[in-house]
Symmetry: D2
Subunit: 383 residues, 4 copies
């Protein structure tokens, strides 16, 4: 059984790292560190093997995957020693990448959608894939402009036929994916499939989707720590966070409207877990010097017995692509498994992976993990 | 229904804070922040109300509780404004405190045990208590010297009759408590009831016990954070910790053999949660200047996808007594509830509260909490 | 010899703490911790004793100093035990406070100035003060609106006579102070005396002035640490800072234009010391919960030999008033000493105290201290 | 003018990094970041150029410098891209390395000394070096065992002639260096030239020496920060430090007696700068995982005005070799300059580089730098 993974943003740091990693894992060159689906609870569930994933994708950039991988090796994200061994696999993946939707293509959105659909269909046919999972890992978009056409698939179809620009890029890809019978994963805070019209379409086509905004850093830690305060009945008075980001992601998030979009999806976590909203200023700063790395500092002021004030602080120094890439492969395996198992529509059991999970207001990491394991256990055996 | 709480170490910072807090809560002067048993899952289970707890205890020190409370107010542990209102309650609790076992009393351990038993019996009778929970909150002892007499209750009884000094202080108290039909909680790393002979005795007498070593600081955070690394399949390479402690606890732990005893019970957590033992140097330093406060710094080096090295650090600045005191009251309520419900022997469901929990190798905080809630739900209604 | 200290913002946290401290020091109730002028190099220079300072001031608030001191004691800034002993001194100081310039008074700025002058003259006469130092410790103002009238004293005088609103509040006070023959200190980032017209006036009147923006926290640490990177030839790539402020100062700085004014004066330090401008994002966040306290986190990424990247981080948890109050008393003594010694105009030797020092681009703390000591040594002996 | 640099421990991480760096600088392949002697105050003083340094040395290890450099490149200390270009220079340096004194050689210490002398003489002759600086960068030794023979050169000579083992290894090298007319630098906490007999010998032979224990991490930061507390009259109550070290240095320091030797030289700094000894627990932990890196966490508790307690914390994540290597080259240039300028005996003006500086109790970094610049300015021009 081979399964296709189609990255929107296929030449970015995250997709490149995932592609490098998939090749290295297929060649048994590295340990599967960071892959959730390699943990014991996911063994024997019949999920596709990493070696059975075929990677393709869209991008507007044109730098080759081999060049991108070299740059990532220079930045310490990918081990230099792997490059030679996986170069053929990268070159092959590169040959499967297609030209993404450019700003000028949006003059006629339906044409763009048709081209994406055709690319997906050809990818599936050429490689005789049982299923394709489209995963959005492209740059965070500004918050979407609401439009009545987003409310139902019929109105949306009509609006697109009229050439109206009512969907952001990420949603055009989701629309095309669903029409092509592919499942869709939003790994960014962008809109993607998160519109009533598109959720309706996924249901109609019988395909699953998951999202949104991969939980890989400060929010991950929050979702592990906040339950401690909740179950110990310690009152969090303020939880201030600062995120220093380098690299492409940092530069994009330096634009205020994209940043808002990101901050929005980080804000739900505390209130949901604690049951009240502490004062929680949150910053994202672009510090070019940090490259592919990000550092977060969180300062938590809390109150214990008899009102005694105490403090906790943490810093998290992570490499975004190294944290996100294995999750993207996990999602490809799990969403493909769900598709095979007949799931359609939003997958709330995948909340473990996301800052802004679909269909559920459960942000406690450990509880999300239990829910994920229980759900995965129900995806029965080899298909 | 009134329930007795008998502190071993009743004039220490922790017991004093708990006594102050119980009085303030009974008088509705403070919010129940920090009390786990005031969370929703514990409502309606028929646990004794805080106002129904009668506090007594042993200590070798003689400073009055009122004086101790004033000192704690000076140190910022107890709010100055509470003192006047609760002074009568403190004075009353003070009148219930008895002379603890002094070093010289150990020449004849059986006499010491008899005196403790008599004190417990009188406490129960005078205040018409349904049950008494004895809670050890005294200074950490050095690691116990093994003795064959600790292996079974018959041999132990004989050894004590022979005047042999085969039990550490904390275990003498546990022995006396069980003989008096009281339950026993070890909130310190000392031996307490953690000997085969004493566990046998508790079973014979039909009383429950719980322990050991309250989880209130660095280890608490570890048990919340380590599952994040485990479920994300991130490989922890090293987890180094430094604890700066002031106050009485710090001074006691500055003695190497007592410190070892403390460090021992902190070391199991990571290995149990992660499934392997990372390099984990751990220090406890006495810094008199910090008074009732402690600061921990942990540095975690971990490996993600493709072996990429990342780091997390945290500091935790807490007031030991303010963190521990509500848990001690929680344990009094829960162990009394267990006793009422017919539980006997070690209570593994209370692992949530302890660094070195009885009878179970489960250290994940959230899982421990779920287990606690499930167990508590089975302690059925008003009795 | 008695010297007057006239606070603009006399009922604020800073001035109240300084007034409490001066009373406590005069009564020998506390050690002179935090006072620079009590260090060895300042002994025997004939500076006025703390006991010889008479404190008065303006404020638009009306809460009594005694009430303010009680609130500060509750917040842990002022020791509770001092209050009773210094209450008479606070009440006396309170009787010397006058109504500050209200927004509505600015309809006729010259009237406001005349009233301030009269208050200063009466203060000096009533208490037979040799000299008066006016110190601005009021809330940070938004950046000043430039006006041609600020360029020379003659044009300014004419504009004020015409009733034109060409000076911010802090500068109206400086104008009045100079006209009254008083020296002036800007402890805030506001404009104060920092306008050509006012500097000209100070020269004409023969009075000294100093400022601006007391260096008490993150910038203080920067000015101590940055020289280390410079003299070791370590290349600072980025130096990111986040400041969490509670209290009145934090709330004022939550207003974007006041914050800009503050950030502006923090930005010069690094460039001046390092000789180049690293990427240095800087935030100020208002976190009400922190009360009188502030916490800063700085993350420094630097490059060493062969380009190796390294990192330093620090947190600074300070109480603003406790850090600033002794410096304000130091400045009163030193500026009064300078006035006595015949200094007129800006005092660049006081750069040690300020984020944005007058007349000098020297920000290295240790060098500033040496310069201060050398200058002070030249303020000859007992007068 | 060519000058020889002779490393004791020439195949260690530090010497290898210095050798790599000297070759890269000579070839203009890197910027001189981290080199103090490349700062403006040292221009035009006639110090030898980096390209004029000829590197040789002793070691008991046998791994080639090329292999060592590759390992350091793998650990991120040395840029991979440099290796090819500097390989010839490394191979050449390798050919100049000689077998160090092995434990078994100490049966006859005088023989060992004679061999070292001969190696130094041959090195000087073969390369026509004007001067040779011997720099000890080998593993930290346990504290020296005192012996009367260490008190004067005559007694020492006699003891060595008698075959007595009265000098630690580092001192045997210093002895040989002085006898060969070479200057000597101790970059470690070992004894080296720090014995009366050896200082006498250096004076007799007219050679300078400098040391001890390079200041590159936590102590460097302390010496920059502690003056801030001193000049602001802030009372440091406690200053607790934890150092996590990987690599060879960490492993050596895991042996308690070597660690003591290291801690000893770190302890003077605070007391000297502050004028009193705060509570200052200090740890060194070996964490193999950290490799060539070290992380320090310092927690400073201090008291300000009216006794208000405040806190500062910092972490320092540095690469030991990258921090130390340029200083070793600086010292080679400066000590050679001093030798040329006729200085003999201990050089107290070099305190800026050391934790335990010779002949001076000045630990303030900025003051040490000023002293260094003034002294260097007196080493007159081109020779």
């Amino acid at each position: 059984m081979t399964v296709g993974v189609w990255f929107v943003g296929a030449r970015g740091s995250l997709a490149t790292t995932a592609t490098v990693g998939a090749a290295a894992l297929a060649g048994d060159l590295v340990a599967p560190t960071g892959l959730v689906t390699e943990l014991a609870p996911f063994a024997g569930l019949g999920l596709p093997a990493i070696a059975d994933l075929v990677i393709g994708g869209h991008d507007v950039a044109e730098t080759s995957l081999v060049k991108r991988a070299e740059a990532l090796a220079g930045a310490g994200v990918v081990p230099q020693v792997l490059l030679a061994a996986i170069e053929p696999a990268l070159a092959e993946a590169d040959s499967r990448l297609r030209r993404g939707i450019h700003p000028e293509d949006r003059a006629n959105p339906l044409d763009a959608v048709r081209r994406v659909r055709a690319d997906l269909a050809r990818f599936r046919d050429e490689h005789q894939l049982e299923r394709v999972v489209v995963i959005n890992v492209s740059t965070t978009e500004p918050a979407v402009v609401a439009d009545p056409a987003q409310a139902s698939i019929d109105v949306l179809d009509a609006a697109l036929r009229d050439g109206r620009d009512v969907l952001p890029l990420s949603s055009l890809y989701a629309y095309a994916a669903f029409q092509a019978g592919c499942s869709f994963v939003d790994f960014t805070p962008s809109t993607g499939a998160r519109l009533p019209a598109l959720e309706q379409l996924a249901d109609q086509r019988g395909v699953p989707h998951a999202g949104r905004d991969g939980k890989t850093g400060e929010t991950l830690v929050k979702s592990a720590l906040a339950p401690m305060f909740a179950t110990r009945n310690l009152h969090v008075r303020s939880w201030a966070g600062t995120n220093l980001l380098g690299g492409g992601d940092g530069a994009a998030l330096a634009e205020p409207d994209r940043r808002e979009s990101k901050l929005e999806s980080k804000h739900h976590v505390l209130g949901s877990i604690l049951g009240y909203e502490p004062d929680a200023p949150l910053h994202i700063d672009y510090v070019a010097d940090l490259g592919e790395w990000k550092t977060a500092w969180d300062h938590i002021s809390f109150e214990g017995f008899l009102g005694t004030r105490m403090r906790m602080q943490f810093t998290w120094e992570g490499c975004d692509s190294a944290l996100a890439a294995p999750l993207v492969l996990d999602l490809a395996r799990l969403v493909s498994g769900a598709h095979a198992g007949g799931h359609r529509g939003g997958l709330d059991a995948l909340a473990f992976f996301f800052k802004d999970p679909w269909g559920v207001d459960e942000h406690r990491l450990e509880t999300q993990f239990q829910r994920l394991c229980d759900w995965a256990a129900g995806l029965c055996g080899p298909r």
